[in-house]
């Protein structure tokens, strides 16, 4: 996100390499053992062993098993929010979801974001939500149930959209796994700091102003009016 962009953003060197057709194609259908391009030449890979799952992945911060654990935690707690009827429980499930997301950040080598996720999101935003619950709900056990039709429609739209997205996903070429190791002297926090004070300076300042405005605005809106 260079500020001083001499070229239009769409003509800039794409950071997303999978749009480059010369690169190796890796179809997501291969996940379930099918190769959409060469289905006949498919040779089934051996079923992975537990040991293989626990072996550290060079592209990740941890083993594949760790990824699956985080994925399970995140998805299950997210859907638990949907099915939960208790607002306090919902916020607890949200906490689990956020922690799973933090685990993903760790595996994606974004340690700083993981820490921020836990501190700001889990520690700040969630506490804010809990405060909201406390202030607005004289009876925390009170349940506001949706009608079955609403539930059905909501689930239909959510699942339908997810299904469509997955359908698109599995037909989309994604980059290969040619993972190159991060240089030993690479410090991401330093890079973030540099970025914040150079190319992302204006968004940074705008975010600062935004926070100030939000602080004032929230205090103004939430004040108890006389009478």
């Amino acid at each position: 996100m260079a500020i001083s962009c001499t070229q239009p953003w769409w003509s800039a060197r794409s950071p997303i390499g999978f749009l480059d057709p010369s690169r190796e194609r890796h179809y997501s259908l291969a996940l379930i053992g099918l190769d959409p391009i060469h289905p006949l030449q498919h040779k089934a890979a051996p079923v992975p062993t537990l040991a293989q799952l626990m072996t550290a992945d060079p592209a990740q911060q941890g083993a594949p098993l760790l990824f699956y654990a985080c994925a399970t935690l995140t998805c299950l707690s997210a859907w638990a929010i949907v099915f939960s009827q208790n607002i306090v429980r919902m916020s607890v499930y949200l906490l689990l979801t956020l922690m799973g997301a933090a685990g993903f950040y760790l595996m994606l080598q974004a340690e700083f974001l993981a820490a921020v996720q836990l501190i700001v999101y889990a520690g700040g935003t969630l506490i804010l939500i809990v405060f909201g619950i406390m202030l607005t709900n004289k009876n925390p056990e009170m349940q506001l149930r949706a009608t079955p039709m609403e539930l059905g429609l909501g689930a239909l739209v959510g699942v339908g959209l997810a299904a469509l997205l997955i359908l698109a996903l599995v037909h989309t070429p994604t980059p290969g796994q040619g993972f190159t190791a991060v240089p030993a002297d690479y410090q991401q926090v330093r890079a973030i700091g540099r970025s914040l004070l150079s190319e992302n300076l204006v968004p940074f300042e705008l975010a600062a102003v935004l926070l100030l405005v939000v602080m004032v605005g929230a205090a103004y809106m939430a004040r108890r009016r006389a009478g």
């Binding site: 996100m1 950071p15 997303i16 390499g17 890796h26 997501s28 996940l31 890979a45 079923v47 992975p48 293989q52 592209a59 994925a71 995140t74 998805c75 859907w79 929010i81 949907v82 607002i87 919902m90 949200l94 979801t97 997301a101 950040y105 994606l108 974004a110 700083f112 974001l113 921020v116 999101y121 935003t125 804010l128 939500i129 909201g132 607005t136 506001l144 949706a146 429609l153 909501g154 689930a155 959510g158 699942v159 997810a162 997205l165 996903l169 994604t174 980059p175 796994q177 993972f179 690479y186 991401q188 890079a191 970025s195 968004p203 926070l211 939000v214 602080m215 605005g217 103004y220 108890r224």
Partner: protein, 113 residues
């Protein structure tokens, strides 16, 4: 050739976030509690944030000459915005609660046509 389940790539992350976003949308649509809707919005935001970090990670490995930072920056700003949004949303909810003595969003239908 390793089994695809062992070779964790971008697709795996995208599948997880798709699930997450579907859960978020379903939450927003089914909850009558204003704070529940806020929680749904947080889920959608998190899905987008994980997406960005994942793209950042694998895009670097796929093409760029060095470690990429753009996705991480985006996510950082998303977290800031999410915090701000939560604060404002809660202020609105408190206001709403002061007016209606409830957080049921279905009661606020005075704009019905």
């Amino acid at each position: 050739m390793t089994h695809p389940a062992l070779d964790i790539g971008l697709t795996h992350y995208l599948l997880v976030t798709t699930t997450l976003v579907a859960a978020g949308i379903a939450t927003i649509l089914t909850k009558r509690n204003a704070i529940g809707i806020l929680i749904g919005v947080e889920l959608v935001l998190n899905a987008a944030a994980i997406n960005l970090v994942a793209y950042n990670h694998f895009a670097w490995s796929a093409g760029k000459g060095g470690p990429a930072i753009e996705g991480v920056m985006f996510t950082a700003f998303i977290i800031v915005l999410a915090a701000a949004e939560a604060a404002v949303a809660l202020a609105i909810v408190l206001n709403y609660y002061n007016n209606f003595s409830s957080v049921d969003v279905d009661q606020a239908d005075s704009l019905s046509g």
